[in-house]
């Protein structure tokens, strides 16, 4: 019956030894390991959550970036358009201004030309008058030798003088 009869000595030693083993392992053995593994699990879980969060944030950033890019592109095209318009306007303005300037210069030139022409004509006229006076002097000196013709000539001159201011006014 010994096989199934517990022995007191063995019961005693078993209790003692198992107690000591349990004390050592429960204090310095398994909890150290299990705590560490638990911490690691927590860390891994946290890392996973973090990774997911970062992923979401990255996606958000990407979207924002895309938005930004699109906005920039739109702005760029708008600016280009504006620039084109400005250019056209400036060119048009310049053209108009140049035209006006040219017109003004032309007008001034015409006036000047007209004035020049007038003064030239006046000079010519004066020259012609002087010439005619000289010619007339010579003619007169030659013809006024007789009385009759002198009289006739004076009359003619008086008539002419009467009519001349009318001519000049024209």
């Amino acid at each position: 019956m010994s096989l199934i009869t517990p022995d007191f000595g063995l019961l005693f030693w078993m209790t003692l030894i198992f107690g000591i083993v349990f004390f050592i392992l429960a204090k310095f053995g398994f909890p150290v390991l299990t705590d560490m593994v638990r911490k690691r699990q927590e860390r891994i879980e946290k890392s996973l959550v973090d990774a997911r969060e970062i992923e979401a944030r990255m996606a958000q950033w990407k979207e924002e970036q895309a938005h930004l890019l699109e906005a920039t592109r739109k702005e760029q095209s708008q600016m280009l358009q504006e620039a084109t318009q400005t250019k056209a306007r400036i060119v048009a303005d310049a053209k108009a201004q140049a035209q006006a300037e040219a017109d003004k210069i032309l007008a001034e030139a015409k006036l000047q030309i007209a004035a020049e022409k007038e003064s030239a004509l006046r000079d010519v006229r004066r020259e012609v008058a002087l010439l005619s006076v000289q010619v007339a002097e010579k003619v007169l000196r030659h013809e006024l030798s007789d009385e009759g013709s002198q009289r006739a000539f004076i009359d003619q001159l008086v008539d002419e003088a009467n009519q001349a201011p009318l001519h000049n006014k024209n």
Partner: protein, 379 residues
């Protein structure tokens, strides 16, 4: 495994009834426990024909029961064994501590001698007193105690060695490899697969005990399979050891049981007439003790059966010695093959029994920590 146990018992009984088994050696009280195979074979011509017979009983029991010295082997009829410490308290003369070597071969020392019980194949320390021979208070360091100490030392050193890694490293940043990795795998397997699901939210409180129980049983089982000193002591196949293990679980279950657990025992939810005559409470109270009892017997019987199976298989070599070289050689070869198979099987059993003990302990503890409201809420 119970089946294996039965088979081994049958094997062993069949052998004892056979011609070889019937030839029991006449052993004087106090002689070495095990009659070792080399004695049985015809190696030593000086021995009489009586001792040529292989004593199956002594062979089997000598290996599985406790002893006062640790028999290692026998060379040419000479026993080589490690003497252990006898610690006994006599009612008349007080404490006695001496080496068991002094009691070898039936010698008497300070009034003590070892009685070899033919019936149980068990050595008992006895004391001569004027009023007859009595059994003193005996807490000797027997073979099993010595084995237990050695195995426990191995266990503690292994675990502390494995855990050392965690003191030097930040386990949050890296995972251990090598032995620490193996230990972590085993520990976390036990905790995550057994303890956590069986106990529930309070598992942390019980985890150190259950882990210790698992590794204690596992290491003792494994070292029990090692066939030479200092392994091979049949520790987890000893009823005293499994009794204490079951007792610890019993205490863990019943000392920390909550009110739902005790209500289920003394006033379960059954029709009134089943409680008025306290039939159900009676059954529940019996159940209180059958649970650890089953733990005790299961582990004990499985490991004992394993040891006996291996011994039985190996004994074929010696039992067939007289059948002639050809027969003996052939059967020995088969026995060796079968022995290898049994050893591998026992490796599995060593793990399995530790696993089952831990799992059932966890389940029993889990029952004592039940939360019926939560379970109802879940449904």
């Amino acid at each position: 495994m119970m089946l294996a146990f039965l088979i081994s018992l049958l094997l062993w009984q069949g052998d004892t009834l056979g011609p070889a088994g019937l030839g029991m050696t006449e052993s004087i009280p106090g002689e070495a426990t095990a009659v070792i195979p080399s004695e049985a074979t015809a190696v030593i011509p000086s021995e009489a024909s009586v001792s040529q017979e292989f004593d199956m009983d002594e062979y089997l029991y000598g290996h599985v029961v406790d002893a006062y010295d640790w028999h290692i082997t026998t060379v040419n009829g000479k026993h080589i064994s490690v003497p252990l410490l006898i610690i006994a308290r006599s009612k008349t003369t007080g404490w006695h501590v001496f080496s068991s070597g002094k009691l070898a071969h039936g010698h008497e020392y300070e009034g003590f001698y070892i009685l070899h019980d033919q019936e149980s194949h068990r050595d008992r320390l006895m004391e001569h007193t004027p009023s007859g021979d009595v059994r003193p208070l005996d807490i000797s360091i027997t073979k099993n105690v010595a084995g237990l100490m050695f195995n426990s030392l191995v266990l503690v050193l292994l675990v502390l060695f494995g855990v050392k890694w965690y003191r030097k490293h930040d386990a949050r940043e890296e995972a251990p490899g090598g032995f620490s990795g193996l230990l972590e795998m085993l520990v976390m397997m036990v905790e995550d697969d057994i303890i956590k699901p069986c106990i529930g939210p309070d598992y942390k409180r019980y985890s150190p005990y259950l882990l210790t129980a698992f590794f204690f049983i596992f290491v003792n089982n494994l070292l029990g399979i090692v066939p030479f000193f200092p392994g091979g002591a049949n520790i987890t196949g000893n009823i005293a050891i499994t009794f204490m293990m079951a007792m610890f679980t019993f205490l863990a279950v019943n000392l920390f049981g909550n009110k739902h657990y005790y209500k289920d025992i003394f006033w379960p939810e059954v029709p009134l007439f089943l409680k008025a005559i306290p039939l159900m409470p009676l059954i529940e109270i019996i159940g209180l003790f059958t649970k650890p009892f089953s733990l005790m017997v299961r582990l004990f019987a499985n490991i004992l059966a394993g040891h006996m199976m291996i011994l039985g298989v190996v004994s074929v070599v010696f039992l067939t010695a007289e059948l002639g070289p050809a027969m003996n050689g052939g059967l020995s070869a088969i026995a060796v093959l079968f022995g290898v198979f049994m050893d591998v099987l026992e490796l599995l059993v060593a793990f399995l029994q530790a696993y089952i003990f831990t799992m059932l302990s966890s389940v029993f503890i889990g029952l004592s920590r039940q939360h019926p409201e939560e379970e109802k809420a879940e449904k």
